[in-house]
Symmetry: C2
Subunit: 420 residues, 2 copies
């Protein structure tokens, strides 16, 4: 886990993925979303070559775009990302052809090699993919992204964040500023995803840009470690998508002393990255399909990090916990039950559970037994839209968090009708 | 898996757990369900000592009654079972005391040693347990169960099946007859459970009686093998309860040559047992909280039994598949996606998917690619209340099934308000 002490020097700023120097972005409606005029095609572009790394879904069924992206990132470099939403290029016979052709079109429009372009796709699985919207709109999108200088186009991040949304109800964007050896550095991020989210990685997409100068193998290391504590600790419905991807691009424009190894500079960068990814992870969880509440589970005094992480995630994945929170019902027996079926060797005899929100905190269980508590107070705590479930195991020193949402009538509505 | 050829000689009969000779049962309202007058206390009694075995939840948090039952079944013998519904004796400081006292009361009422009594409890976790209803009603329940001879009291099974229900909407009961060496033999079963069901074992309770003469170690073997293909292949919401228990009691009254080893007699018994347990498993799945449809996933041509079972279970556990089926939406991409994140090494490139019900069958995916299909026909197939998802992997010879239900507005309603 990143060093908390470094966090005080990390400031939130505007501009999203366009906050780091030299990055451009844009989004428009190209026609992938056939029932609306919403934006469905996004582009991210760096003026100079980037060190780049990505993390992908663990689903054995992988989208064609993922296979192309993996190939294009094998050299640890990229300069642009093109993303469509509305249909997922997955399980289609001509999927690879379309994904490669999309990179060709994007490379041509930006004057780049197609192999320096990353391609992503999200939406309904199994519809026949279309090349026409790419042919018609990629050149226009490139012109928009490149129009004016980067500082004029900082709202390009918001456009791109909108263009990658599917069932999301709000766009997800963040940027932070911090210093490395006296040089101001920035990291920005956008993300999408609200169903089929149980990343390892799940259709969650996240794109992170930074102007930090960092070697690509070290960047990959930072991302790999980070997602275990951020995106991989979210779950909305336990489903793992075929298309999940997190991409990070670092163009080095901040002018810091290049980070080439694990050390102090790396720790500062990792802490800032974690602020960005955890913020995006929480935005994703809170905007879960049909969700009305963000649920954070914080496990303390677990025997190991691994066990703590597994317990936290098991609790926020329990349909019974999720529906109880939706109903503002302090049904703590379901929390203990979920703790009990989390994988791993740990003691379940001394578990304390506290429910917390901005309305206050109520301890509902001590040493794994019921305690008397004020039901009215618990109801008012749980009526808030950000709920924390604090689980103290009294069985070690490790801490962990996971992020989820309540399970509601809205989830059923969205998902029983989504395709049609 | 049991030999299918033996199944033709297995006939369904009435009488449930009272169909096997020498078993009595009864159920009444004792006051554990405080908001209704529904039955909440059940008793099962055999006139003679039984070989007995059980399978339990894998949850690390275990109900006090489970601990007592494990202890009482350590010698492979039992003669009675007492069960309450309405609150689960779990996570209460005096839980063990109450569970032991319940066995004392039941033993006294039936003239048995308390250690030959099995005790189970199901309902809300963490409420303070009550001994008074047991003290007041166990003697009365024993008098009812023993009143008249067993054949007069065959409806006692239905009473007991009702008395173990919590959020169940229908009681679950079955009995079969078959022959062993010319002797007619019977197996009967009752079960409850409709939420928190993802057995390994999950609050599912099932009680199986038989008059077959079988050694208790062989009986344990039969049950252990059987539940992997029956109860452990059900999932309603992925939650694993603290109190799940399947108990089987065999009193030997059929007079067959005692089964003391794995062999032909054992195979016949195992096949009949599997008919009972799969029937109960499907009844449980179909009565899942809020469910409107039973979903069976049948996987064929998988590399191994294990992988087939895991894939089948992963498909019926996917919230996205469950909501699509609720909406009668042939969203087969979600099925392929769930197949792809099932654990294990198998090929996902040649998967065929067919949706089937009594309205007919529609193939929606061939070799892992979309095929054109009649959407209207698919809608009418999925509008039925028993849906089969056939997944052919073309990657081996193994077959497997799993049983689940759709995820609906009703599930949210039941579980956001259950405790209060």
């Amino acid at each position: 886990m990143p060093d908390n002490k470094s966090k005080h020097s990390i400031e939130h700023i505007g501009g999203g993925i366009c906050a780091p120097r030299g990055f451009h972005a844009a989004g428009l409606h190209a026609g992938f979303k056939i029932r609306s005029k919403k934006k469905d095609l996004a582009l991210i572009y760096s003026e100079t070559m980037c060190a780049a790394a990505a993390a992908y879904t663990t689903n054995k069924v992988k989208g064609a775009t993922l296979k192309v992206t993996m190939d294009h990132l094998a050299d640890g470099k990229a300069q642009a990302v093109v993303i469509n939403s509305g249909y997922a290029n997955t399980l289609a016979p001509n999927g690879m052809e379309i994904a490669l052709r999309t990179c060709d079109l994007t490379g041509a429009a930006l004057g780049l090699s197609p192999t320096d372009v990353v391609v992503c796709s999200t939406g309904v699985i199994g519809q026949p993919p279309m090349i026409e919207p790419f042919e018609k709109y990629v050149p226009k999108l490139a012109r928009i992204a490149l129009g004016g200088d980067a500082s004029d186009r900082r709202y390009g991040s918001a456009e791109a964040a909108e263009a990658i949304m599917t069932t999301d109800t709000v766009k997800k964007e963040i940027a932070v500023e911090f210093t490395l050896g006296g040089k101001p550095c920035r990291i920005g991020g956008i993300a999408k995803g609200s169903g089929m989210i149980n990343p390892n990685m799940a259709t969650m997409l996240a794109f992170i840009t930074t102007d930090v100068d960092i070697a690509s193998d070290i960047l990959r290391e930072a991302l790999k470690e980070d997602i275990n504590h951020s995106f991989n600790q979210i779950s909305i419905d336990g489903d793992t998508s075929t298309n999940d991807t997190v991409v990070i691009m670092a163009n080095g424009r901040a002018g810091n002393k290049k980070i080439t190894k694990i050390g102090k500079g790396f720790a500062v960068f990792a802490a800032a990255l974690n602020v960005v990814t955890v913020a995006l992870a929480k935005m994703l969880a809170k905007d879960g399909e049909g969700a009305t509440k963000l649920i954070e589970c914080r496990v303390s005094n677990a025997p190991t990090d691994q066990i703590g992480m597994r317990i936290a995630k098991t609790v926020i994945q329990s349909d019974l916990v999720k529906t109880a929170i939706f109903g503002s019902d302090a049904n703590w027996g379901r929390i203990l039950c979920a703790v009990g079926y989390a994988d791993g060797a740990f003691n379940t005899d001394n578990v304390d559970v506290t429910l917390e929100s901005r309305e206050g905190a109520v301890t509902v269980c001590k040493n794994s037994f019921a305690v008397e508590f004020d039901e009215e107070k618990a109801k008012s705590v749980l009526a808030e839209d950000e709920i924390r479930i604090l689980v103290n195991l009294h069985d070690g020193m490790a801490e962990a968090e996971a992020y989820g949402c309540d399970l509601t009538y809205g989830y059923i509505k969205v998902n029983s009708l989504y395709r049609t």
